[in-house]
Structures are given as structure tokens and as C-alpha cells.
């Protein structure tokens, strides 16, 4: 069974600064010593990031892409798992 952390919605962690220009997102985690280099998300990653920022759930994210729904879903879960592990996003407060 999927946990809440994997089905969304999520929120961008408040320590993350990010910009979305054209078809890419550049982000950096703001934490001492504040020398981290930005990370760039291109194409699919940028679409996912922006959709997550808008509060989309896993089911809603899947609808942004064409192709085999199960395969798309697995790819999104991989992405979400990765950014969750990095502390870049967290589960949205559902209260």
C-alpha cells in the first residue's frame, strides 16, 4: 500500500529556493553554510516540480503525461521518492 508520502499532495520544503524559467527549474536548498550549488531539473522534472508546487497528487501528476499509465506512475514515484529523500519536498499538511 502506498503511504501518504508517496501519493501526495506534497509541499516544497520551505528551505528550498527555486526558479522556473522556460522549461526548466533550478533549485537550491538553503542551509548553512549556504554554499550549495543549484540543481537543475529539465523537461519532465521541471513539469513534475511545478505540478507538485501546485499541490497535485500522484494521480493528478500521472495525467500530465502520455504513455503507459503504470510506467508513468512508476517514473513519478521514483522522482518523488528521490526529492522526498533529499528533503526537498514533504507531505502536505492535510489538517
Amino acid at each position: 500500500m502506498e503511504t501518504i508520502g508517496r501519493t501526495g499532495p506534497w509541499v516544497i520544503d520551505e528551505s528550498v529556493a527555486w526558479v522556473h524559467h522556460d522549461d526548466r527549474v533550478v533549485l537550491v536548498k538553503l542551509a548553512p553554510p549556504f554554499t550549495a550549488l543549484p540543481t537543475r531539473l529539465d523537461a519532465t522534472g521541471a513539469i513534475l516540480w511545478s505540478a507538485i508546487a501546485q499541490g497535485e497528487t500522484l494521480d493528478e501528476l500521472v495525467t500530465n503525461f502520455e504513455g503507459d499509465p503504470d510506467e508513468v506512475r512508476r517514473g513519478i514515484i521514483d522522482f518523488v521518492t528521490n526529492v522526498l529523500a533529499q528533503g526537498l519536498i514533504g507531505p502536505a499538511d492535510r489538517s
Binding site: 529556493a17 527555486w18 526558479v19 524559467h21 533550478v26 538553503l30 549556504f34 550549488l37 543549484p38
Partner: protein, 303 residues
């Protein structure tokens, strides 16, 4: 990865990085110019390679220590203590990031005591959003005063028409109440006389002359009359320095090769001993030659 960033992306993110860094130590700062001004409608777009920060004057040393702790690099050479020699800002870079971060202890043309000027700006400060983060900034009217002073600072008297086009754009973005606030802020921060002609040209009524800062006003006018003349800049620093700071000032002026603009500080670091020695000789010769000119210029103006 950083090399592939656009300057706009990096500058927006660097604002957020610097804001968060200062907030961790409760250091009050205001972000000015650049994308902050754009977000307030005071500037049209355009690339900015700097993050300009006006720091609580009481915490500037803490801010400098803080950014050193974080490993940020002083842009104008590690040996240069900019504040000690009367420069109004110190530039830093975050390793691997393209923008410079200019930490201002005061803003040239705001002739009032820097602490009281800062408190005045802080009292009305606003939050703008850059890179999805809160960035403290002056209120738009206060920000206009800063932008106008910045525009005038490097222009000789009579050249200010060059600065008027962007200032008219900024002025047009303000409502009537804010335009009145511009005059009030200019008066309260000691910027009224430096900006008097500009305000009149914009249709504002600056009111009676403010004669509280006559010495600082004379220095402001002299620096504008001798834009680009480093001898005048150093002479002004000499006049403003306390006696115990003056030996270092002389050493910096004539000998600190990291401050010689013929190469970047980084290039001077890599120069041979002979190149540095020759550079120092040229700098000392140029400096000594400029002193009489600067003093004569000062006397000629009767200030």
C-alpha cells in the same frame, strides 16, 4: 551545473541564499536594486549580476564575519578590509556562483547618520518574493530614493539627464501618496539636497533646503564633480577617517596592489613578485601625482 545557469536564475536564487543566511543570525538587511526593484515595478527587466544588500550598520561586522564563516569569498581580495578604508560596500561571491553579493554599510548620498537612515528604511520595509522566498526590501518610495541616488552617484553634475529616463519610469510607477513619501524619506535620510534637482524635474516639491549635512553634502558634490578620479576618492576617505585609521589608509592607497584596478584582485594574486612590485611603483607614482590635483580641486571649490 552552475555554469549552465542563466544569470537571472542565479541572481534570483542568490537573493534567497543571502536572505536566509542573514536571517539565521537575525541580522536585519534590505535588498535593493536589481530584481527587487523590478518586482516592485520600479525598474523594467534587465540583467543584474549583483545582489545588493543594505545591512543594519550595527551588525555589518557580524554580517562580514558570518559570510566568512560560510566560506564566501571577499571579491576585492582577502587582504582588503573595505569598511575600514571608507568604502561603502564589500563584495563577496559564493563559491561557484556567478553573482557578486554587495554588502552595503550605508548608501552614498544618504547623508544622515547611517543607523538612523537604516532604521527609517526598516520601519517601512516590505517583503517581496524572489525564488519563492521572502526577501526584505525597502518600501517602493524609499527604494526610489536609493535608486535615484545610485543613478546620480557616477554621473557628473549636468549629466543627470542620462539618469532621468529610468527614474521617470520608476516615478510613474508610484502613486501620489508614495511620491510624497519619496520627499519625506529623502529629507529624513539626508538625501533631499543630493536629489533636489531630480525631484524638481520629476514635478515634486522638495520644500525648504536641508542644511543639516553641509560637510557631507560638499563631499557628495565633490565626488560627483570628480567622477572617476581615484585621488579625490582617496582624499575623501582620508578626510572621513579617524586618525588611527589613516596609516592603513595610506598603505592601502599607495601600496595595496589588490586594489589596483589595472587587474582584478584574482589576477594580482597570480602575478609574479616583479609584476606586483612594478604595479606598486606605478600605483604609488600615480597616487602621489594625483594628490595635489585632488587638493587643488577641493580648494578651488572652496569646500
Amino acid at each position: 551545473m552552475t555554469a549552465e545557469l542563466t544569470l537571472a536564475e542565479a541572481t534570483h536564487l542568490a537573493h534567497a541564499v543571502a536572505a536566509r543566511a542573514m536571517a539565521t543570525e537575525d541580522i536585519r538587511v534590505l535588498f535593493v536594486k536589481g530584481p527587487v526593484a523590478v518586482s516592485q515595478g520600479l525598474r523594467t527587466g534587465g540583467l543584474s549580476s549583483d545582489v545588493d544588500i543594505l545591512c543594519d550598520p550595527a551588525r555589518v561586522r557580524d554580517a562580514v564575519d558570518l559570510v566568512h564563516e560560510y566560506g564566501w569569498t571577499r571579491y576585492s581580495g582577502e587582504q582588503t578590509d573595505a569598511m575600514a578604508i571608507g568604502m561603502h560596500a564589500t563584495a563577496f561571491t559564493i563559491p561557484g556562483w556567478p553573482p557578486t553579493i554587495d554588502l552595503h554599510a550605508n548608501f552614498p548620498g544618504m547623508l544622515a547618520d547611517p543607523q538612523s537612515a537604516f532604521e527609517r528604511l526598516w520601519a517601512a520595509h516590505r517583503i517581496v518574493r524572489l525564488a519563492h522566498h521572502n526577501i526584505p526590501a525597502p518600501a517602493p518610495a524609499d527604494h526610489f530614493v536609493i535608486l535615484a541616488l545610485h543613478a546620480l552617484r557616477t554621473l557628473a553634475p549636468g549629466e543627470q539627464t542620462v539618469a532621468m529616463a529610468p527614474l521617470k519610469t520608476a516615478w510613474a510607477s508610484l502613486d501620489p501618496r508614495e511620491r510624497q513619501d519619496v520627499v519625506t524619506t529623502a529629507r529624513e535620510t539626508g538625501a533631499l539636497e543630493p536629489l533636489r534637482e531630480v525631484l524638481i524635474e520629476l514635478g515634486a516639491e522638495p520644500g525648504p533646503a536641508d542644511d543639516r549635512f553641509s560637510t557631507a553634502l560638499a563631499q557628495w558634490r565633490r565626488s560627483r564633480e570628480h567622477v572617476g578620479d581615484s585621488a579625490v576618492v582617496w582624499l575623501t576617505r582620508w578626510e572621513q577617517a579617524r586618525w588611527r585609521e589613516r596609516p592603513e589608509l595610506v598603505w592601502r592607497a599607495f601600496w595595496d596592489i589588490s586594489m589596483d584596478n589595472s587587474r582584478s584582485p584574482q589576477e594580482w594574486e597570480l602575478a609574479t613578485r616583479r609584476e606586483r612590485a612594478l604595479g606598486r611603483l606605478r600605483r604609488a607614482r600615480r597616487g602621489l601625482a594625483g594628490v595635489p590635483r585632488a587638493i587643488n580641486g577641493r580648494r578651488g571649490k572652496g569646500s
